[in-house]
Protein backbone atom coordinates (compact mmCIF):
# COMPACT_ATOMS: atom_id res chain seq x y z
CA UNK A 1 0.00 0.00 0.00
CA UNK A 2 3.03 2.23 -0.35
CA UNK A 3 1.35 4.01 -3.22
CA UNK A 4 -0.77 5.93 -0.73
CA UNK A 5 2.27 7.66 0.72
CA UNK A 6 1.52 10.75 -1.35
CA UNK A 7 -1.83 11.16 0.35
CA UNK A 8 -0.06 12.41 3.45
CA UNK A 9 1.41 15.37 1.57
CA UNK A 10 -1.84 17.37 1.32
CA UNK A 11 -2.37 16.75 5.04
CA UNK A 12 1.09 18.08 5.77
CA UNK A 13 0.37 21.21 3.73
CA UNK A 14 -3.05 21.61 5.38
CA UNK A 15 -1.46 21.37 8.82
CA UNK A 16 1.32 23.80 7.92
CA UNK A 17 -1.17 26.38 6.62
CA UNK A 18 -3.59 26.05 9.53
CA UNK A 19 -1.24 25.26 12.43
CA UNK A 20 2.36 26.32 11.88
CA UNK A 21 1.96 29.54 9.88
CA UNK A 22 -0.69 31.05 12.20
CA UNK A 23 1.52 30.29 15.19
CA UNK A 24 4.33 32.22 13.51
CA UNK A 25 1.92 35.10 12.87
CA UNK A 26 0.87 34.92 16.50
CA UNK A 27 4.49 35.34 17.55
CA UNK A 28 4.95 38.29 15.18
CA UNK A 29 1.78 39.91 16.51
CA UNK A 30 2.99 39.65 20.07
CA UNK A 31 5.59 42.26 19.14
CA UNK A 32 3.11 44.68 17.61
CA UNK A 33 0.70 47.20 18.97
CA UNK A 34 -2.30 46.70 16.72
CA UNK A 35 -6.02 46.89 16.72
CA UNK A 36 -7.09 44.09 14.42
CA UNK A 37 -4.73 42.41 11.99
CA UNK A 38 -2.30 44.75 10.26
CA UNK A 39 0.85 42.71 10.11
CA UNK A 40 2.66 44.67 7.45
CA UNK A 41 2.28 48.30 8.49
CA UNK A 42 2.41 47.86 12.25
CA UNK A 43 5.42 48.88 14.28
CA UNK A 44 7.71 46.64 16.24
CA UNK A 45 7.35 47.09 19.99
CA UNK A 46 7.98 45.47 23.32
CA UNK A 47 5.08 47.28 24.97
CA UNK A 48 2.89 44.19 25.08
CA UNK A 49 5.30 42.55 27.47
CA UNK A 50 4.34 45.03 30.16
CA UNK A 51 1.15 43.02 30.45
CA UNK A 52 3.12 40.18 31.98
CA UNK A 53 3.97 42.44 34.91
CA UNK A 54 0.44 43.56 35.60
CA UNK A 55 -0.91 42.23 38.86
CA UNK A 56 -4.35 41.30 37.57
CA UNK A 57 -2.91 39.26 34.69
CA UNK A 58 -0.48 37.43 36.93
CA UNK A 59 -3.29 36.77 39.36
CA UNK A 60 -5.56 35.39 36.67
CA UNK A 61 -2.75 33.16 35.35
CA UNK A 62 -2.15 31.86 38.87
CA UNK A 63 -5.87 31.43 39.50
CA UNK A 64 -6.34 29.50 36.25
CA UNK A 65 -3.47 27.24 37.21
CA UNK A 66 -4.77 26.72 40.73
CA UNK A 67 -8.35 25.98 39.71
CA UNK A 68 -7.39 23.52 37.03
CA UNK A 69 -4.71 21.84 39.14
CA UNK A 70 -7.21 21.17 41.92
CA UNK A 71 -9.92 20.11 39.46
CA UNK A 72 -7.49 17.78 37.66
CA UNK A 73 -6.38 16.24 40.95
CA UNK A 74 -9.99 15.64 42.03
CA UNK A 75 -10.77 14.14 38.62
CA UNK A 76 -7.81 11.78 38.93
CA UNK A 77 -8.82 10.80 42.45
CA UNK A 78 -12.30 9.81 41.29
CA UNK A 79 -11.47 8.58 37.80
CA UNK A 80 -8.66 6.15 38.58
CA UNK A 81 -10.65 3.86 40.88
CA UNK A 82 -13.65 4.07 38.56
CA UNK A 83 -11.60 3.16 35.49
CA UNK A 84 -9.90 0.38 37.46
CA UNK A 85 -13.19 -1.05 38.70
CA UNK A 86 -14.76 -0.98 35.23
CA UNK A 87 -11.69 -2.50 33.62
CA UNK A 88 -11.38 -5.27 36.21
CA UNK A 89 -15.08 -6.08 36.11
CA UNK A 90 -14.47 -7.50 32.60
CA UNK A 91 -17.72 -6.37 31.10
CA UNK A 92 -18.38 -8.34 27.99
CA UNK A 93 -19.90 -5.32 26.40
CA UNK A 94 -17.14 -2.75 26.14
CA UNK A 95 -19.24 -0.72 23.74
CA UNK A 96 -22.01 -0.22 26.29
CA UNK A 97 -19.59 0.95 28.99
CA UNK A 98 -18.02 3.43 26.61
CA UNK A 99 -21.42 4.68 25.46
CA UNK A 100 -22.52 5.34 29.03
CA UNK A 101 -19.29 7.24 29.71
CA UNK A 102 -19.51 9.32 26.54
CA UNK A 103 -23.25 9.95 26.84
CA UNK A 104 -22.89 13.30 28.64
CA UNK A 105 -20.70 14.56 25.82
CA UNK A 106 -23.70 14.53 23.49
CA UNK A 107 -25.29 17.02 25.76
CA UNK A 108 -24.27 20.60 25.13
CA UNK A 109 -21.35 21.45 27.42
CA UNK A 110 -22.46 25.01 28.09
CA UNK A 111 -26.00 23.89 28.83
CA UNK A 112 -24.72 21.27 31.26
CA UNK A 113 -22.59 23.94 32.90
CA UNK A 114 -25.65 26.13 33.20
CA UNK A 115 -27.61 23.24 34.70
CA UNK A 116 -24.97 22.40 37.29
CA UNK A 117 -24.48 26.07 38.12
CA UNK A 118 -28.20 26.41 38.81
CA UNK A 119 -27.91 23.63 41.40
CA UNK A 120 -25.48 25.77 43.39
CA UNK A 121 -28.12 28.42 44.01
CA UNK A 122 -30.31 28.41 47.06
CA UNK A 123 -33.55 27.96 45.16
CA UNK A 124 -33.12 25.44 42.35
CA UNK A 125 -35.34 23.09 40.45
CA UNK A 126 -34.68 20.12 42.73
CA UNK A 127 -35.50 21.99 45.96
CA UNK A 128 -38.54 23.40 44.21
CA UNK A 129 -39.73 19.91 43.29
CA UNK A 130 -39.08 18.65 46.80
CA UNK A 131 -41.15 21.53 48.14
CA UNK A 132 -44.07 20.26 46.07
CA UNK A 133 -44.02 16.97 47.93
CA UNK A 134 -43.60 18.72 51.25
CA UNK A 135 -39.87 18.43 51.83
CA UNK A 136 -38.38 21.83 52.55
CA UNK A 137 -34.70 21.61 51.77
CA UNK A 138 -32.45 24.57 51.24
CA UNK A 139 -30.01 24.60 48.39
CA UNK A 140 -26.29 24.94 48.87
CA UNK A 141 -25.96 28.60 47.88
CA UNK A 142 -22.33 28.34 46.79
CA UNK A 143 -22.78 29.80 43.32
CA UNK A 144 -19.67 31.71 42.14
CA UNK A 145 -17.62 30.39 45.07
CA UNK A 146 -14.38 28.52 44.25
CA UNK A 147 -15.83 25.21 45.49
CA UNK A 148 -18.68 25.49 43.02
CA UNK A 149 -16.31 26.28 40.15
CA UNK A 150 -14.16 23.25 40.96
CA UNK A 151 -17.11 20.88 41.36
CA UNK A 152 -18.47 22.14 38.06
CA UNK A 153 -15.15 21.64 36.28
CA UNK A 154 -14.79 18.12 37.69
CA UNK A 155 -18.30 17.24 36.58
CA UNK A 156 -17.67 18.55 33.07
CA UNK A 157 -14.30 16.93 32.45
CA UNK A 158 -14.47 13.68 34.46
CA UNK A 159 -15.17 11.46 31.40
CA UNK A 160 -12.00 12.80 29.74
CA UNK A 161 -10.02 11.38 32.66
CA UNK A 162 -11.86 8.06 32.96
CA UNK A 163 -11.71 7.16 29.26
CA UNK A 164 -7.93 7.15 28.62
CA UNK A 165 -7.19 5.37 31.90
CA UNK A 166 -9.86 2.78 31.15
CA UNK A 167 -8.51 2.30 27.61
CA UNK A 168 -5.03 1.53 28.93
CA UNK A 169 -6.15 -0.67 31.83
CA UNK A 170 -8.46 -2.66 29.62
CA UNK A 171 -5.65 -3.50 27.20
CA UNK A 172 -3.39 -5.00 29.87
CA UNK A 173 -2.68 -8.63 29.12
CA UNK A 174 -4.47 -10.76 31.69
CA UNK A 175 -1.63 -13.25 31.84
CA UNK A 176 0.46 -10.51 33.48
CA UNK A 177 -1.77 -10.74 36.54
CA UNK A 178 -1.47 -14.50 36.60
CA UNK A 179 2.30 -14.27 36.25
CA UNK A 180 2.49 -11.80 39.11
CA UNK A 181 0.27 -14.06 41.19
CA UNK A 182 2.39 -17.10 40.44
CA UNK A 183 5.52 -15.25 41.44
CA UNK A 184 4.02 -14.69 44.86
CA UNK A 185 2.90 -11.08 44.78
CA UNK A 186 -0.26 -10.17 46.68
CA UNK A 187 -2.99 -8.05 45.14
CA UNK A 188 -1.56 -4.76 46.31
CA UNK A 189 1.91 -5.57 45.07
CA UNK A 190 0.50 -6.70 41.73
CA UNK A 191 -1.27 -3.38 41.43
CA UNK A 192 1.79 -1.38 42.41
CA UNK A 193 4.32 -3.24 40.28
CA UNK A 194 2.24 -4.25 37.25
CA UNK A 195 -0.95 -2.27 36.80
CA UNK A 196 0.13 1.15 37.96
CA UNK A 197 3.26 1.60 35.80
CA UNK A 198 1.37 0.51 32.69
CA UNK A 199 -1.56 2.80 33.46
CA UNK A 200 0.66 5.89 33.75
CA UNK A 201 0.31 6.37 30.00
CA UNK A 202 -3.42 6.82 30.32
CA UNK A 203 -3.05 8.96 33.43
CA UNK A 204 -0.73 11.35 31.57
CA UNK A 205 -3.15 11.73 28.69
CA UNK A 206 -6.04 12.16 31.10
CA UNK A 207 -4.25 14.87 33.06
CA UNK A 208 -3.52 16.77 29.86
CA UNK A 209 -7.05 16.37 28.52
CA UNK A 210 -8.52 17.73 31.76
CA UNK A 211 -5.97 20.31 32.82
CA UNK A 212 -5.67 22.21 29.54
CA UNK A 213 -9.36 22.91 28.87
CA UNK A 214 -9.91 23.74 32.55
CA UNK A 215 -7.08 26.26 32.53
CA UNK A 216 -7.71 27.86 29.17
CA UNK A 217 -11.42 27.53 28.46
CA UNK A 218 -13.77 30.39 29.15
CA UNK A 219 -17.25 29.01 28.44
CA UNK A 220 -17.40 26.60 31.36
CA UNK A 221 -15.74 28.91 33.89
CA UNK A 222 -17.97 31.84 32.94
CA UNK A 223 -21.02 29.61 33.15
CA UNK A 224 -20.04 28.78 36.72
CA UNK A 225 -19.69 32.48 37.54
CA UNK A 226 -15.89 32.80 37.38
CA UNK A 227 -14.86 35.65 35.08
CA UNK A 228 -11.27 36.13 36.26
CA UNK A 229 -9.59 33.26 34.44
CA UNK A 230 -7.10 33.71 31.62
CA UNK A 231 -9.40 32.31 28.94
CA UNK A 232 -11.89 35.10 29.54
CA UNK A 233 -9.10 37.67 29.31
CA UNK A 234 -7.82 36.36 25.96
CA UNK A 235 -11.36 36.21 24.65
CA UNK A 236 -11.86 39.88 25.49
CA UNK A 237 -8.62 40.87 23.78
CA UNK A 238 -9.74 39.22 20.57
CA UNK A 239 -13.37 40.27 20.50
CA UNK A 240 -14.37 43.30 22.52
CA UNK A 241 -11.09 45.16 22.99
CA UNK A 242 -9.43 44.13 19.69
CA UNK A 243 -5.98 44.41 21.25
CA UNK A 244 -4.64 41.47 19.31
CA UNK A 245 -1.02 42.01 20.32
CA UNK A 246 -1.68 41.50 24.02
CA UNK A 247 -3.98 38.56 23.32
CA UNK A 248 -1.35 36.92 21.10
CA UNK A 249 1.29 37.29 23.78
CA UNK A 250 -0.79 35.50 26.37
CA UNK A 251 -1.85 32.88 23.83
CA UNK A 252 1.87 32.21 23.29
CA UNK A 253 2.38 31.73 27.02
CA UNK A 254 -0.36 29.08 26.91
CA UNK A 255 1.10 27.62 23.74
CA UNK A 256 4.42 27.03 25.53
CA UNK A 257 2.64 24.93 28.13
CA UNK A 258 0.80 23.05 25.39
CA UNK A 259 4.02 22.33 23.50
CA UNK A 260 5.39 20.66 26.61
CA UNK A 261 2.17 18.67 26.93
CA UNK A 262 2.38 17.67 23.28
CA UNK A 263 5.89 16.31 23.64
CA UNK A 264 4.92 14.44 26.78
CA UNK A 265 2.08 12.81 24.83
CA UNK A 266 4.45 12.01 21.95
CA UNK A 267 6.88 10.47 24.42
CA UNK A 268 4.48 8.20 26.31
CA UNK A 269 2.14 7.44 23.45
CA UNK A 270 3.87 7.35 20.09
CA UNK A 271 0.90 6.12 18.06
CA UNK A 272 -1.70 8.26 19.80
CA UNK A 273 -3.74 5.34 21.13
CA UNK A 274 -4.91 6.90 24.37
CA UNK A 275 -6.05 10.23 22.97
CA UNK A 276 -9.36 8.78 21.87
Amino acid sequence: MNKFKHLSIPYLIWMIVLVLIPILILIVMAFQETHGIKIFDAKFTFNNFQVLQRKDILQSLWLSFLYSAIATFCCLLIAYPVAYIIARAHFKNRFLVLTLLILPMWSNTLLRTKAIASLFMEGNIITSMLEKIGLFVKGLNIYEKPVAVIIGMVAMYLPFMILPIYTVLEKIDKSLYDASDDLGADRFKTFWKVTFPISLKGVTTGIILVFLPCATGFGVAEGLGEYRLIGTYIQQQFSKDATYGVGSLIAIVILLVITIALFVVAKVDKEGETLL
Binding site: K5, L18, V19, N93, T99, W106, G123, V137, G272
Partner: protein
Protein backbone atom coordinates in the same frame (compact mmCIF):
# COMPACT_ATOMS: atom_id res chain seq x y z
CA UNK B 1 -29.98 17.05 47.16
CA UNK B 2 -26.55 15.53 47.58
CA UNK B 3 -27.63 14.41 51.03
CA UNK B 4 -30.48 12.48 49.45
CA UNK B 5 -28.08 10.79 47.09
CA UNK B 6 -25.89 9.82 50.02
CA UNK B 7 -28.91 8.47 51.91
CA UNK B 8 -29.92 6.35 48.92
CA UNK B 9 -26.37 5.10 48.66
CA UNK B 10 -26.32 4.32 52.35
CA UNK B 11 -29.57 2.36 52.20
CA UNK B 12 -28.19 0.44 49.27
CA UNK B 13 -25.02 -0.34 51.18
CA UNK B 14 -26.89 -1.49 54.27
CA UNK B 15 -29.04 -3.76 52.15
CA UNK B 16 -25.97 -5.10 50.45
CA UNK B 17 -24.30 -5.71 53.79
CA UNK B 18 -27.41 -7.40 55.14
CA UNK B 19 -27.51 -9.71 52.19
CA UNK B 20 -23.84 -10.44 52.71
CA UNK B 21 -24.36 -11.23 56.36
CA UNK B 22 -26.95 -13.80 55.43
CA UNK B 23 -24.28 -15.50 53.40
CA UNK B 24 -22.62 -18.43 55.08
CA UNK B 25 -19.08 -17.22 54.62
CA UNK B 26 -19.25 -14.73 57.44
CA UNK B 27 -15.57 -14.90 58.19
CA UNK B 28 -14.73 -13.55 54.76
CA UNK B 29 -17.01 -10.54 55.03
CA UNK B 30 -14.86 -8.36 57.21
CA UNK B 31 -12.03 -8.39 54.72
CA UNK B 32 -14.23 -7.99 51.66
CA UNK B 33 -16.89 -5.46 52.54
CA UNK B 34 -14.69 -2.37 52.68
CA UNK B 35 -13.35 -2.61 49.14
CA UNK B 36 -16.94 -3.06 48.04
CA UNK B 37 -18.08 0.07 49.88
CA UNK B 38 -15.16 1.98 48.40
CA UNK B 39 -16.12 0.71 44.94
CA UNK B 40 -19.74 1.77 45.30
CA UNK B 41 -18.81 5.20 46.65
CA UNK B 42 -16.42 5.85 43.78
CA UNK B 43 -18.85 4.77 41.09
CA UNK B 44 -21.63 6.64 42.88
CA UNK B 45 -19.74 9.93 42.96
CA UNK B 46 -18.78 9.57 39.32
CA UNK B 47 -22.34 8.81 38.25
CA UNK B 48 -23.77 11.70 40.26
CA UNK B 49 -21.23 14.15 38.85
CA UNK B 50 -21.60 13.00 35.27
CA UNK B 51 -25.34 12.50 35.14
CA UNK B 52 -26.63 15.21 37.49
CA UNK B 53 -26.53 17.96 34.83
CA UNK B 54 -28.36 15.72 32.36
CA UNK B 55 -31.08 15.01 34.91
CA UNK B 56 -31.45 18.72 35.64
CA UNK B 57 -31.71 19.48 31.91
CA UNK B 58 -34.37 16.78 31.59
CA UNK B 59 -36.35 18.28 34.51
CA UNK B 60 -35.92 21.78 33.12
CA UNK B 61 -37.33 20.64 29.78
CA UNK B 62 -40.62 19.45 31.32
CA UNK B 63 -40.92 22.46 33.61
CA UNK B 64 -43.90 24.69 32.90
CA UNK B 65 -42.11 27.77 34.24
CA UNK B 66 -39.47 29.75 32.41
CA UNK B 67 -37.70 30.38 35.69
CA UNK B 68 -34.79 27.99 36.24
CA UNK B 69 -35.27 27.89 39.98
CA UNK B 70 -38.97 27.10 40.24
CA UNK B 71 -40.85 24.03 39.12
CA UNK B 72 -44.49 24.93 38.55
CA UNK B 73 -46.15 22.09 36.68
CA UNK B 74 -45.44 19.31 34.23
CA UNK B 75 -45.63 20.60 30.70
CA UNK B 76 -44.46 19.54 27.29
CA UNK B 77 -44.85 22.98 25.75
CA UNK B 78 -41.11 23.49 25.30
CA UNK B 79 -41.01 20.33 23.20
CA UNK B 80 -43.91 21.71 21.20
CA UNK B 81 -42.08 25.01 20.87
CA UNK B 82 -39.28 23.14 19.19
CA UNK B 83 -41.57 22.06 16.35
CA UNK B 84 -43.91 25.00 16.01
CA UNK B 85 -43.41 28.00 18.32
CA UNK B 86 -46.56 29.81 17.18
CA UNK B 87 -49.00 27.15 18.31
CA UNK B 88 -47.43 26.15 21.62
CA UNK B 89 -45.90 29.32 23.02
CA UNK B 90 -46.98 32.88 23.67
CA UNK B 91 -45.48 36.37 23.82
CA UNK B 92 -41.73 36.79 23.71
CA UNK B 93 -41.23 33.04 23.90
CA UNK B 94 -42.18 32.73 20.22
CA UNK B 95 -39.33 34.94 19.05
CA UNK B 96 -36.83 33.20 21.33
CA UNK B 97 -37.96 29.79 20.10
CA UNK B 98 -37.74 30.94 16.47
CA UNK B 99 -34.15 32.03 17.03
CA UNK B 100 -33.43 28.71 18.65
CA UNK B 101 -34.87 26.86 15.65
CA UNK B 102 -32.53 28.77 13.37
CA UNK B 103 -29.58 27.97 15.63
CA UNK B 104 -30.47 24.27 15.65
CA UNK B 105 -30.65 24.37 11.86
CA UNK B 106 -27.20 25.99 11.68
CA UNK B 107 -25.78 23.46 14.13
CA UNK B 108 -26.99 20.47 12.14
CA UNK B 109 -26.00 21.95 8.79
CA UNK B 110 -22.43 22.54 9.95
CA UNK B 111 -22.15 19.31 11.92
CA UNK B 112 -23.42 17.00 9.18
CA UNK B 113 -21.36 18.65 6.45
CA UNK B 114 -18.19 18.76 8.54
CA UNK B 115 -18.63 15.15 9.72
CA UNK B 116 -18.96 13.90 6.13
CA UNK B 117 -16.08 15.98 4.78
CA UNK B 118 -13.74 15.24 7.66
CA UNK B 119 -14.49 11.51 7.54
CA UNK B 120 -13.62 11.30 3.84
CA UNK B 121 -10.50 13.45 4.16
CA UNK B 122 -9.51 11.70 7.39
CA UNK B 123 -9.60 8.26 5.75
CA UNK B 124 -7.48 9.47 2.83
CA UNK B 125 -4.94 11.16 5.12
CA UNK B 126 -4.80 8.11 7.36
CA UNK B 127 -4.06 5.93 4.31
CA UNK B 128 -1.21 8.30 3.51
CA UNK B 129 0.18 8.38 7.05
CA UNK B 130 -0.06 4.60 7.38
CA UNK B 131 2.09 4.12 4.27
CA UNK B 132 4.93 6.30 5.62
CA UNK B 133 8.09 4.85 7.18
CA UNK B 134 8.04 4.67 10.97
CA UNK B 135 9.95 7.86 11.82
CA UNK B 136 7.94 10.02 9.44
CA UNK B 137 4.72 8.42 10.59
CA UNK B 138 5.39 9.30 14.21
CA UNK B 139 6.14 12.88 13.19
CA UNK B 140 2.88 13.11 11.29
CA UNK B 141 0.99 11.68 14.28
CA UNK B 142 2.61 14.32 16.47
CA UNK B 143 1.41 17.00 14.06
CA UNK B 144 -1.99 15.33 13.91
CA UNK B 145 -2.24 15.51 17.70
CA UNK B 146 -1.68 19.27 17.77
CA UNK B 147 -5.35 20.25 17.31
CA UNK B 148 -6.47 17.61 19.84
CA UNK B 149 -4.11 18.61 22.62
CA UNK B 150 -4.09 22.33 21.81
CA UNK B 151 -6.34 24.56 23.87
CA UNK B 152 -9.56 25.40 22.06
CA UNK B 153 -8.95 29.08 22.47
CA UNK B 154 -5.51 28.96 20.85
CA UNK B 155 -6.82 26.85 17.95
CA UNK B 156 -9.69 29.28 17.55
CA UNK B 157 -7.43 32.34 17.50
CA UNK B 158 -4.90 30.86 15.10
CA UNK B 159 -7.66 29.82 12.70
CA UNK B 160 -9.26 33.24 13.00
CA UNK B 161 -5.97 34.91 12.05
CA UNK B 162 -5.64 32.75 8.93
CA UNK B 163 -9.25 33.36 7.90
CA UNK B 164 -9.05 37.10 8.51
CA UNK B 165 -5.91 37.40 6.41
CA UNK B 166 -7.13 35.26 3.53
CA UNK B 167 -10.68 36.60 3.57
CA UNK B 168 -9.58 40.23 3.65
CA UNK B 169 -7.89 39.67 0.28
CA UNK B 170 -11.22 38.64 -1.27
CA UNK B 171 -13.22 41.04 0.88
CA UNK B 172 -15.25 38.19 2.43
CA UNK B 173 -16.65 38.05 5.92
CA UNK B 174 -16.16 35.30 8.45
CA UNK B 175 -19.25 33.12 8.25
CA UNK B 176 -20.41 29.81 6.81
CA UNK B 177 -17.18 28.94 4.97
CA UNK B 178 -14.87 29.75 7.86
CA UNK B 179 -17.04 27.91 10.40
CA UNK B 180 -17.21 24.85 8.16
CA UNK B 181 -13.47 24.77 7.44
CA UNK B 182 -12.60 25.18 11.11
CA UNK B 183 -14.97 22.35 12.10
CA UNK B 184 -13.43 20.10 9.44
CA UNK B 185 -10.01 21.12 10.74
CA UNK B 186 -10.54 20.01 14.32
CA UNK B 187 -12.52 16.88 13.34
CA UNK B 188 -10.00 15.32 10.94
CA UNK B 189 -7.42 14.40 13.64
CA UNK B 190 -10.02 12.31 15.50
CA UNK B 191 -10.91 10.41 12.32
CA UNK B 192 -7.22 9.85 11.54
CA UNK B 193 -6.54 8.57 15.06
CA UNK B 194 -9.43 6.12 14.99
CA UNK B 195 -8.72 4.81 11.49
CA UNK B 196 -4.93 4.41 11.84
CA UNK B 197 -4.87 1.46 14.28
CA UNK B 198 -7.30 -0.47 12.06
CA UNK B 199 -5.17 0.28 9.00
CA UNK B 200 -2.02 -1.00 10.66
CA UNK B 201 -3.83 -4.26 11.45
CA UNK B 202 -4.66 -5.15 7.86
CA UNK B 203 -2.28 -7.02 5.62
CA UNK B 204 -0.16 -4.83 3.35
CA UNK B 205 -0.81 -7.19 0.47
CA UNK B 206 -4.58 -6.85 0.65
CA UNK B 207 -4.69 -3.86 -1.67
CA UNK B 208 -2.15 -5.31 -4.11
CA UNK B 209 -4.07 -8.59 -4.22
CA UNK B 210 -7.26 -6.74 -5.07
CA UNK B 211 -5.50 -4.83 -7.84
CA UNK B 212 -3.92 -8.03 -9.18
CA UNK B 213 -7.33 -9.61 -9.31
CA UNK B 214 -8.44 -6.89 -11.66
CA UNK B 215 -9.81 -4.14 -9.43
CA UNK B 216 -9.17 -0.54 -10.34
CA UNK B 217 -7.34 1.34 -7.53
CA UNK B 218 -10.53 3.11 -6.43
CA UNK B 219 -12.52 -0.10 -6.50
CA UNK B 220 -9.75 -1.80 -4.53
CA UNK B 221 -10.03 0.83 -1.81
CA UNK B 222 -13.81 0.47 -1.67
CA UNK B 223 -13.94 -3.32 -1.85
CA UNK B 224 -10.82 -4.37 0.05
CA UNK B 225 -9.67 -1.65 2.44
CA UNK B 226 -12.81 0.16 3.58
CA UNK B 227 -14.65 -2.97 4.81
CA UNK B 228 -11.59 -3.94 6.84
CA UNK B 229 -11.43 -0.58 8.64
CA UNK B 230 -15.19 -0.10 8.97
CA UNK B 231 -15.30 -0.04 12.77
CA UNK B 232 -12.55 2.60 12.87
CA UNK B 233 -14.45 4.74 10.40
CA UNK B 234 -17.65 4.55 12.44
CA UNK B 235 -15.75 5.44 15.60
CA UNK B 236 -14.08 8.38 13.84
CA UNK B 237 -17.35 9.64 12.42
CA UNK B 238 -18.98 9.45 15.82
CA UNK B 239 -16.13 11.40 17.40
CA UNK B 240 -16.16 14.02 14.64
CA UNK B 241 -19.91 14.41 15.08
CA UNK B 242 -19.60 14.67 18.86
CA UNK B 243 -16.86 17.30 18.71
CA UNK B 244 -18.59 19.34 16.04
CA UNK B 245 -22.09 19.44 17.51
CA UNK B 246 -20.79 20.53 20.91
CA UNK B 247 -18.23 23.07 19.74
CA UNK B 248 -18.38 26.54 21.16
CA UNK B 249 -15.01 28.30 21.36
CA UNK B 250 -13.92 27.72 17.78
CA UNK B 251 -17.30 28.70 16.33
CA UNK B 252 -17.34 31.77 18.57
CA UNK B 253 -14.18 33.21 17.02
CA UNK B 254 -14.64 32.02 13.43
CA UNK B 255 -17.89 33.56 12.33
CA UNK B 256 -20.31 32.25 14.94
CA UNK B 257 -21.91 35.64 15.24
CA UNK B 258 -23.22 35.45 11.68
CA UNK B 259 -24.05 31.76 11.99
CA UNK B 260 -24.89 31.19 15.66
CA UNK B 261 -25.12 27.56 16.73
CA UNK B 262 -26.84 26.29 19.87
CA UNK B 263 -23.76 26.81 22.07
CA UNK B 264 -23.47 30.41 20.90
CA UNK B 265 -27.10 31.08 21.81
CA UNK B 266 -26.66 29.52 25.25
CA UNK B 267 -23.55 31.63 25.84
CA UNK B 268 -24.74 34.95 24.47
CA UNK B 269 -28.29 34.94 25.82
CA UNK B 270 -28.54 35.09 29.52
CA UNK B 271 -31.82 34.87 31.43
CA UNK B 272 -35.13 35.49 29.70
CA UNK B 273 -33.98 35.68 26.08
CA UNK B 274 -32.93 32.02 26.06
CA UNK B 275 -35.85 29.80 25.15
CA UNK B 276 -36.23 26.81 27.52
CA UNK B 277 -36.90 24.78 24.36
CA UNK B 278 -33.13 24.43 24.28
CA UNK B 279 -33.45 22.01 27.20
CA UNK B 280 -35.97 20.00 25.21
CA UNK B 281 -33.66 19.98 22.19
CA UNK B 282 -30.75 18.83 24.31
CA UNK B 283 -32.72 16.04 25.97
CA UNK B 284 -33.96 14.74 22.63
CA UNK B 285 -30.45 14.87 21.19
CA UNK B 286 -28.75 13.10 24.10
CA UNK B 287 -31.25 10.29 24.40
CA UNK B 288 -31.76 10.05 20.65
CA UNK B 289 -28.08 9.31 20.11
CA UNK B 290 -28.08 6.91 23.05
CA UNK B 291 -30.95 4.90 21.59
CA UNK B 292 -29.46 4.87 18.10
CA UNK B 293 -26.20 3.51 19.51
CA UNK B 294 -27.92 0.95 21.72
CA UNK B 295 -30.00 -0.15 18.75
CA UNK B 296 -26.89 -0.51 16.62
CA UNK B 297 -25.22 -2.47 19.38
CA UNK B 298 -28.16 -4.85 19.72
CA UNK B 299 -28.24 -5.26 15.94
CA UNK B 300 -24.55 -6.22 15.91
CA UNK B 301 -25.09 -8.59 18.84
CA UNK B 302 -28.02 -10.32 17.14
CA UNK B 303 -26.07 -10.62 13.92
CA UNK B 304 -23.15 -12.21 15.77
CA UNK B 305 -25.50 -14.65 17.48
CA UNK B 306 -27.08 -15.69 14.20
CA UNK B 307 -23.67 -16.32 12.68
CA UNK B 308 -22.67 -18.44 15.66
CA UNK B 309 -25.75 -20.60 15.49
CA UNK B 310 -25.26 -21.00 11.76
CA UNK B 311 -21.69 -22.08 12.32
CA UNK B 312 -22.75 -24.55 14.96
CA UNK B 313 -25.35 -26.00 12.64
CA UNK B 314 -22.85 -26.20 9.82
CA UNK B 315 -20.38 -27.94 12.12
CA UNK B 316 -22.87 -30.65 12.92
Amino acid sequence: MITIAIIILFIYLVKKKASLVKDKTITKINTKVWPKIFKIICIGIAIILIYMPIVVILLQSINGSKNNGIFTEFSLKWYGGLISPDTFLTGNDIQAANDLQKAIGNTFLITILSTLISTILGILFALGINALPKKQRQKMILLNNVPIVNADIVTAITLMIVFMMVFSVFDWQLGFVSVLISHVFFSIPYVVLSVLPKLSEIDDNLYDAAVDLGCSPIKAIFKAILPAIKSGIIMGMLLAFTMSIDDFTITFFNGGRLLPNVSMIVYLRKGKALSPSVYAYNTILTFGILFVLLGYNIYIYMKGKKKKTKKQLGGK
